[in-house]
């Protein structure tokens, strides 16, 4: 699966969170937030990661940065296995991997000015003299479409869209190569959302960035991504080129998910697949294929054997027994 030009290779990544209980706080169970996923991201591309709440897409993003320690698996970034780095080495490595968060209200320190917020990663990584850093902050604010005088202001003086620009400026400060954006536009209104999406695309072109774009909005993900992976209950169920995935989805979950999106077009043909029931609990995922409890096409084998994630040709990966029938 590792293409020659891959920047990031994730192999069999797992992240289980222990559930503790009883008087000795012993481990009584675990949440399988990310349960054996593998994918790679090529240099300069945008990979989208979609799925419903609780499917593990955000955990996957954070585990790649080792903000959560992975339970198992390998994360290879530009030839270096991140899981083998010491905490100090990893800290230095994060110059290359930055993150943009969903909530622009919660991810900016309200007691610091925007200038201090954007400067902080430069201080942490020991880049430049104070004067050079101030200059760099001014430059960054302009790059993301803010004015230099905004450096003196506090986050509460900004609108949601402007705060997200500050978050992006902070991520860009250390010249990263990969940016993991976790729901960067879902807290924003439609008209502001398109401004931020356009900005991210411009920056990608300008600085040759690679994005892992995590979102639940399927239309936004299609717009920005070159390739898209679909997650369900901690597992990747399908991964393909963006157009191929949306035009010819193979996995029953992807089909249902796409058919559920309301289309802003009154005369559009709608053949909706309504899934019954709710997401099973990740503490006790169903045996076999995790989706079999809600799948309209489930067979006997789906209840017993977990389907493998296989290439169906042209880099279109699917984990479904219907494909191997």
């Amino acid at each position: 699966m590792a293409a020659a030009e891959a920047l990031l290779n994730v192999r069999n990544l797992k992240k289980y969170f222990p559930i503790r209980g009883g008087i000795f706080q012993r481990k009584i169970g675990e949440v399988r937030a990310v349960d054996d996923i593998s994918f790679s991201i090529r240099k300069g591309e945008t990979m989208g990661l979609v799925g419903e709440s609780g499917c593990g897409k955000s955990t996957a993003g954070r585990t790649i940065l080792r903000l959560y320690e992975p339970t198992a698996g390998e994360i290879e970034f530009d030839g270096v296995n991140l899981t083998e780095l010491s905490p100090e080495e990893m800290r230095k490595k994060r110059r290359d991997l930055q993150m943009v968060f969903q909530d622009p209200f919660a991810s900016l320190n309200p007691r610091k000015t925007v200038g201090q917020i954007v400067e902080e990663p430069l201080i942490v990584h020991g880049i430049g003299t104070p004067k050079e850093r101030k200059e760099r902050v001014r430059e960054l604010l302009q790059v993301v479409g803010l004015d230099t005088y905004h450096a003196e202001r506090y986050p509460h003086q900004f609108s949601g869209g402007q705060r997200q620009r500050v978050g992006i400026a902070r991520a860009l400060a250390v010249h990263p190569r990969l940016i993991i954006a976790d729901e960067p536009v879902s807290a924003l209104d439609v008209s502001i959302q398109s401004q931020v999406i356009n900005l991210m695309e411009d920056l990608q072109e300008q600085f040759g960035l690679t994005y892992l774009f995590i979102a639940h909005d399927l239309s936004v993900v299609r717009h920005i991504s070159d390739r898209v992976g679909v997650m369900y209950l901690g597992r990747l169920v399908e991964l393909a080129d963006s157009d191929e995935l949306y035009d010819e989805p193979l996995h029953p979950y992807t089909k249902a998910l796409l058919s559920a999106v309301p289309i802003p077009e009154p005369d559009a043909k709608r053949e909706r697949i309504i899934l019954s029931g709710d997401l099973p609990s990740p503490t006790d995922p169903p045996a076999g294929c995790a989706f079999h409890t809600r799948c309209p096409e489930a067979m006997d084998i789906c209840r017993e054997v977990r389907p493998s994630f296989q290439d169906q040709g042209g880099g279109h990966f699917v984990a479904c027994h219907l494909m191997t029938k």
Binding site: L218, H223, L257, V261, P264, P266, I274
Partner: protein, 341 residues
């Protein structure tokens, strides 16, 4: 479909009087919901759509909120001058409301059965047993067949289930109008599809009119008969569902439609985006409130507020481009209409 008006709001002004000045959250809006109709109220955060719905229910805290003008008529009766007691009879019985976050609208320390029975008995003289029967019927109707649902607590249910419970509770007294404030925004798409499906069925079966407040134009396209678009406390466009998407007249509506990424379309170069930000409600621009962000703004737009004018039967818009003889040019349908595919 009958065209008898059920809810008529005219020139409603709901202002908030704060220490820092007056916020004109709702500034002279007109809105009609006919019997059995689904009307969408669309706009971005802060445009006044939720305040409008809370005003109908008489739920805006006062002070700071105050209705300074206009009227809200429900089935011929004026709600703004009604006493609290009379209003309480209408709320729940004839108009009910569901909110965005079902967890915050359900009491966490009472069971579902407890809460539903309380609401039903408050408005009827049913016995406890009859009320429980009714609650179970309603829960069945919204697709919750679990036998133990009446003794379950809200935290035991998923988001979609909770929203179903809210709908069952809202529908249990057979209201004539259901106000749904962003009912699916907190839910995942597959659950959203279930809830929208349920609301559509309820509308068709019991002829309950729905005022659907949302920011999602996809939901509007699927659900609504008519649509009202709000911007900065005012109605800027009102029309039927199809012409909103095919033939919108106001530059704000057009901008909104163009800025949504399309699921069905291959990756396009760039998204359209409306420049700038929503104006500060304490400091509204003089003239048209959208003028500072509008691509077509003319001199007059910055000076005088346009009125809501009819551009076609049942289609109104608030824009100088569509006022004949006023704007320098009347662009009619050539430049200002967008085709949305």
């Amino acid at each position: 479909m009958t065209t008898k008006p059920l809810l008529e709001i005219s020139q409603l002004q709901m202002h908030f009087f704060t220490d820092k000045g007056v916020v004109r959250a709702v500034d002279g809006i007109d809105l009609t919901v006919n019997e059995g109709e689904v009307v969408g109220l669309v706009g971005e955060s802060g445009c006044g759509k939720s305040v409008t719905s809370l005003s109908i229910m008489g739920l805006v805290p006062s002070p700071p909120g105050k209705i300074v003008g206009g009227s809200i008529k429900f089935a011929g009766r004026e709600l703004t001058t009604m006493s609290k007691k009379e209003l309480r009879k209408i709320r729940g019985n004839e108009i009910s409301m569901i909110f965005q976050e079902p967890m915050t609208s359900l009491n966490p320390v009472f069971t579902i059965g407890n809460q539903m029975v309380e609401a039903i008995r408050l408005h009827t003289d049913m016995s406890k047993k009859e009320a429980q029967e009714r609650a179970r019927d309603m829960l069945n109707k919204v697709g919750i067949a679990r036998a133990d649902i009446l003794t379950a607590y809200p935290h035991e249910l998923s988001g979609g289930m909770r929203q179903r419970v809210m709908i069952a509770m809202a529908m249990s007294l057979g209201p004539r109008l259901l106000i749904a404030d962003e009912p699916t925004t907190a839910l995942d798409v597959t659950i959203q599809a279930q809830i929208l499906d349920l609301m559509r069925t309820l509308n068709q079966e019991s002829q309950t009119a729905i005022l659907l407040i949302t920011h999602d134009l996809g939901v509007v396209a699927e659900m609504c008969d008519r649509v009202v678009v709000m911007y900065a406390g005012q109605v800027v466009e009102e029309t039927d569902n199809r012409s909103l998407f095919r033939n919108s007249h106001h530059p704000y509506t057009q901008g909104l439609l163009k800025s949504i990424p399309k699921l069905s379309k291959q990756r396009s170069k760039r998204l359209y985006s409306i420049k700038g930000n929503v104006p500060n409600p304490r400091n509204m621009p003089q003239g048209c409130r959208f003028a500072p962000r509008c691509d077509f703004a003319m001199d007059i737009c910055h000076q005088k507020m346009p009125d809501l004018v009819e551009v076609a039967p049942g289609h109104q818009t608030r824009c100088w481009l569509h006022v004949k003889g006023e704007g320098e040019v009347d662009l009619g349908s050539s430049r200002s209409t967008t085709q949305c595919s």
